[in-house]
């Protein structure tokens, strides 16, 4: 490693329990500037909780999370809000505001930060929608009138609207057909490249993980059990990762689903 710049996101020994259930059990992770990082793992392995901790939606029990060398857990509320505004998030089911038309959804963050005048918002939304391959006329529709793939695109448009330094993707291809999944992945790669952002995506779609990721890590029972280049996901040499990526029923990850 010759890169001496501090990592964009540095996580040290992060713990979080809900009641007696340990969800994060000592996560240590560095995401270098400009990298696209993919976290894979089964349902309930703590992927979403990890993202929510970095976003500040969940307060971890112990450990530290640094963005650009600044610990967000000990920062003042104001500073934390400023750091958070540098993160764009694509939620699993889009989480579009269903009471607002698409154009207002897309420009919501910009309007909230007063970086855009309301009178200009419609046209600006059109240009952002074009970046995710949608016609500007979609801006006049309501989220409930859109198909799943279009909702994902609008969610992506909303996440990139403020040109954030960091982008989070929570299972970007879940619930989409394979072609639409590939389209969304392509858009994500384009957006991340264009903005030069650091990205973290969580997924259990292997094709998608290899398409969007530079680096990859696997989360299992609240711990990172493997980390390496995304291209080596399918032949990592780690028996647990192998079982997961190839979807084998037999292997070190037992059937604990039926407790």
């Amino acid at each position: 490693m010759t890169d001496t710049r501090p990592p964009k996101i540095r996580i040290r020994d992060l713990h979080k329990s809900f009641g007696a259930k340990k969800v994060l059990d000592g996560i240590t992770l560095d995401v270098p500037q400009g990298t696209s990082f993919v976290i894979i793992g089964g349902s309930g392995s703590g992927k979403s909780v990890l993202l929510r901790c970095i976003l500040g939606l969940i307060v971890p029990d112990s450990g530290s999370i640094e963005i650009d060398g600044e610990n967000i857990l000990t920062a003042s509320t104001k500073r934390r809000e400023a750091l958070r505004s540098e993160i764009g998030m694509l939620f699993q089911n889009g989480a579009l505001f269903d009471s607002l038309p698409v154009w207002e959804n897309v420009t919501f963050g910009l309007l909230a930060r007063k970086r855009l005048k309301r009178s200009d918002a419609r046209t600006h939304a059109g240009t952002i929608l074009a970046q995710v391959g949608l016609d500007p006329s979609v801006g006049e529709l309501y989220p409930s009138e859109l198909s799943g793939g279009m909702q994902k695109r609008v969610g992506l448009a909303r996440a990139i609207a403020a040109t954030p330094d960091i982008l989070f993707f929570d299972e970007p291809t879940t619930g989409l057909d394979p072609i639409m999944g590939a389209v969304i992945d392509g858009l994500i790669v384009d957006c991340v490249k264009k903005l030069g952002s650091t990205a973290i995506a969580i997924t259990h779609d292997m094709a998608s993980a290899q398409r969007i990721g530079d680096e990859a890590a696997m989360l299992y029972k609240g711990r990172l059990i493997w980390q390496g280049p995304a291209t080596s996901l399918m032949n990592s040499g780690n028996p647990m990762v192998d079982q997961f990526t190839h979807g084998r029923r037999e292997g070190p990850i037992g059937m604990e689903l039926r407790k």
Partner: protein, 312 residues
């Protein structure tokens, strides 16, 4: 069976020996079950159920319920304070406030108006049957205006709005919560308490007194209509009698009650919606709880305020 996340506290006594009831109470394994730390340890399973258990279980259940109640009251109070503090701190979301105000005030008008009209009429009709026996029919106008301005206006309008608007608020915010829209707000530099809760609290606080003012007028109109059209009163005499019994303090206290009720209704809708979890079922129970708790609190506070202002 062995849950890895559960601490197992073993009973120090050998398996072969049994505890007497008093020994069992001091056994660490038994105590752990009593406070719900672990599942049945072996000493509890071995032991025959004792009569003490029923008493202890009852006490434990009572204690747990009391703690839960205190916890809920505390979190509700904190929620209310935070919501109130956001009403006075910028940025303000005028658009959201306007929407909530229209929903709470304007669109509740038909329901509240009809309720007021009919209840004013009913009061006139009912008091006539009683008062006619003593030939004091002249007091009916006074009774109607007193009942409507002091009680029926604020309470019935409040209950109608709780059913209509409190439920809608809980359902809307609850759905936003379970579909991650509340979290999405946070990621888009918007405080959800400020954006979702504060405007609704303010809308309730302002809209209900206005609604009750209209309900007061319509309630009296309902009494007037029944007395004049059905019971053959002179319109002129009824109006004069009404104006003579109309007191500023009655109307004012009614409006103060209305403001408090409006706040309570919006608070319950927002609180239960904001804290709902678990998909459609969670939103459903949040909606029910918002309406039920708002209605009960509304009646309880109605009594307290009446006691405060009118009992001498």
């Amino acid at each position: 069976m062995a849950n890895t996340n559960t601490a197992v506290i073993l009973c120090p006594k050998p398996q072969s020996t049994h505890h007497t009831p008093t020994q069992a109470l001091t056994c660490p394994a038994y105590q752990a079950t009593a406070v719900g730390l672990i599942d049945l340890p072996h000493c509890y399973q071995e032991r025959q159920p004792q009569r003490m258990d029923i008493v202890l279980n009852l006490v434990a259940r009572l204690g747990r319920a009391t703690l839960a109640l205190i916890r809920a009251a505390g979190s509700l109070a904190l929620f209310a304070l935070e919501g109130l503090s956001h009403i006075v701190r910028p940025p303000f979301y005028g658009r959201v406030f306007f929407g909530a105000f229209m929903e709470t005030g304007f669109f509740s008008l038909p329901v509240v108006a009809l309720t007021a009209l009919f209840s004013g009429g009913v009061i006139a009709l009912q008091s006539y049957t009683g008062f006619a026996q003593y030939h004091v029919q002249n007091a009916i106008a006074g009774i109607v205006v007193l009942a409507v301005t002091r009680e029926l206006g604020p309470v019935l309008a409040g209950l109608m709005v709780a059913g209509r608007v409190g439920a809608a608020m809980a359902a809307q915010i609850g759905t936003m919560r379970v579909t991650d829209q509340v979290d999405a707000l946070t990621t888009l530099s918007t405080n959800p308490m400020k954006y979702l809760v504060a405007p609704r609290l303010l809308a309730g606080l302002i809209a209900l007194p206005l609604l009750v003012l209209i309900a007061d007028v319509l309630g009296v109109a309902g009494g007037f209509t029944v007395c004049v059209m059905k019971l053959g009163f002179s319109p002129h005499a009824y109006i004069v009698s009404t104006l003579n019994s109309l007191k500023a303090i009655d109307v004012t206290v009614g409006l103060v009650k209305a403001a408090l009720f409006g706040f309570l209704i919006a608070l319950m809708g927002c609180y239960y919606g904001y804290n709902s979890k678990g998909g459609a079922e969670g939103v459903g129970s949040a909606t029910t709880a918002a309406v039920v708790v708002a209605s009960i609190l509304l009646l309880a506070f109605d009594y307290l305020l009446t006691d405060l202002f009118f009992s001498q």
